[in-house]
């Protein structure tokens, strides 16, 4: 049985123009993508800014409407469910949002923010609720005295941890983590990543991990999908992607990882330049005449790339 699957998903946003802001065109934010999550794995969605990663995540949790396609979970198509079914699946699929500022209600205390999903879905006594909230806050490394403060009293990284604590309270099956650690410094980042691995084991979680940090993706993820302008250009295991990248865009991404070693800067600059040249010269190997991405072709059992 398939655990979770996205079939031919399309999400188009209207573009409005003119004085009346009528719909004049569409942004194809997600344009026919397919992927599957296996129970217990961490699957990464990587790609350039604006390629549709957040939109994919939001559509999976039901915050954005799919234009067409299916999101299969528990043998149900979430894009065509009734309210009650959606409510149940919402509980089982939680999202940690990219923007830790606007995703937390500024008028609520951190305690209320973290407790909110529990109140919506579970009938806990005050002391049970408090115990749960404290447990998860402590898990994300926040001190107890922060519970009754408001989001604006915290730094960006601290708020991100509140968002993660909140997503965890219902012990969901799938967590969509949209850039969960990109606002965090290296040591807190390490804490949160270790923590995410711990609870993954503890609660058998599956992650859809959205990130542009390829160092972290290599560390965390079993399989990786590389997106480009609403489509997939490559999909494979960690080894496939890092050891044997096929699409020029994937190689460009890997070459762009900032290099820590100052002695390597010249080398990495050279590599970037070469890839950039290849990208210009051999464009037709990777893109159709109209600039669109080709269809995915199998490279191996686990590895697919959009090549001619």
């Amino acid at each position: 049985m398939t655990f979770f699957k996205v079939n031919n998903l399309k999400v188009y946003y209207p573009i409005r123009g003119g004085i009346f802001r009528r719909v004049v065109n569409h942004v194809k934010a997600v344009d026919n993508i397919n992927f599957e999550l296996k129970r217990g794995e961490t699957y990464a969605l990587v790609g350039e800014s604006g390629c549709g990663k957040t939109t994919t995540g939001r559509t999976v949790v039901g915050l954005t409407k799919a234009t067409s396609g299916e999101v299969i979970f528990n043998n149900l198509d979430l894009t065509k469910c009734n309210r009650k079914q959606i409510r149940e699946s919402r509980r089982e699929i939680q999202m940690v949002f990219q923007d830790p500022y606007s995703s937390l209600n500024p008028k609520k205390t951190v305690y209320d923010i973290v407790a909110e999903p529990l109140r919506n879905f579970e009938n806990l006594s005050k002391s049970e609720e408090r115990e749960q909230v404290e447990y998860f806050m402590q898990k994300v490394g926040m001190s107890r005295d922060s519970l009754f403060k408001y989001p604006h009293q915290f730094s960006g990284g601290q708020r991100q941890r509140v968002g993660i604590a909140r997503a965890l309270t219902l012990k969901p099956k799938i967590i969509i983590a949209d850039e969960p650690v990109s606002a965090l410094d290296a040591s807190v980042q390490a804490q949160v990543l270790n923590f995410m691995q711990d609870i993954q084991e503890e609660f058998g979680l599956t992650y859809l991990f959205i990130s542009h940090d390829l160092g972290i993706v290599r560390h965390m993820c079993n399989r990786i999908g590389i997106m480009y302008k609403g489509k997939f250009v490559e999909e494979g295991t960690r080894e496939d992607i890092y050891e044997n990248p096929q699409h020029i865009y994937t190689r460009r991404l890997i070459a762009s990882i900032p290099e820590l070693d100052t002695d390597q800067h010249q080398n990495s600059e050279l590599l970037r330049k070469n890839i950039e040249e290849e990208y210009q010269k051999e464009n037709d190997k990777y893109f159709n005449e109209d600039g669109s991405v080709m269809d995915l072709k199998p490279v191996s059992d686990t590895h697919f790339a959009a090549l001619r």
């Binding site: 990219q98 500022y101 001190s143 730094s155 601290q158 290296a186 040591s187 542009h212 990882i257 820590l260």
Partner: protein
Amino acid sequence: MSNDDILLQVEDLTTSFRIDEQFYPANDHINLDVYENEIVAIVGESGCGKSAFGHSIMGMHHQEQTKISGKIHFKGVDLLSYSNTQLNKVRGKEISMIFQDPLTALNPLMIVGKQIEEGMKYHTKLSKNKRKQKAIEILNEVKIPQPERVYSQYPHELSGGMRQRIVIAIAIACEPSLIIADEPTTALDVTIQARIIDLLKELKRRMKTSIILITHDLGVVSEMADRIAVMYAGEFVEIGEVKRFLKNPLHPYSKSLLYSLPSKNNQGEKLHVIKGVVPSLNHLQRQGCRFKPRMNGTDDSIHEETPTLREVEKGHWVRCTCYKHFHIENSHQVVEEEKDDVFQGQ
């Protein structure tokens, strides 16, 4: 670098926030010089006071909630002595900030093109058409595809990374001499990040712009910055040249920071973490070494005192009592020996 080249000189800056009727410093007696044509990176644990520092320079703190003391000399004048009207002439034109939080930095009701033009309207005599033309040029510079179209879009219609680039566009519109860039590339994918890094470096080359780069990405620091200042709990604990720092960080906090990065060699394994959490402002122990509670097995006899920032090699400053008790020549060794203790963290 001589003293003549100092663009910004922060002296004994203390910025305190009000928490329940009392004020607690988020930046505690901070000193930092920024030279012309220099990129200084500020790194440190979430909540250590990096943004608070940037906001102090910009003079943007809420007046009733914040107390500021010290001096912020910019081109020779103390910004803290400026009135709001005087500051408005400097802000956006001479000093600008790339805000960490693009969504709240942008006006949701105004198309982004107009927001880029705001500064030009206030600080330059450009005509309406020229301003629009320039705004589109800048959108192009920050690698926004289809700049003419995006010019008339609203912030909520853009992706996270596009919003961040709009904030960058606003900050560079008036070609300031100092840019405070608070996590400028955090929301960007690596290919665009690489281009924004190039753009900011180009700005520095072309106009001698200095940049205070607040970031937690040490790779970005390595590719961009000349010097690095590591902040812990409201104080700088290490300041030095990037190249030397990355090869040989001295403060135990800096060392663990570099140690906790994921790399090829620790795939799937547990990462190193520093045990404990940064205490909140009103619970921070301000006597003695602030990092001490997060270290294992320190010898109390040498750690009672409050460490001060000391210059251990030319231009390399460290706040750690060890340097007080041991010879500078031995300093590396000492920290090396301590490494086991530090890394017992977990």
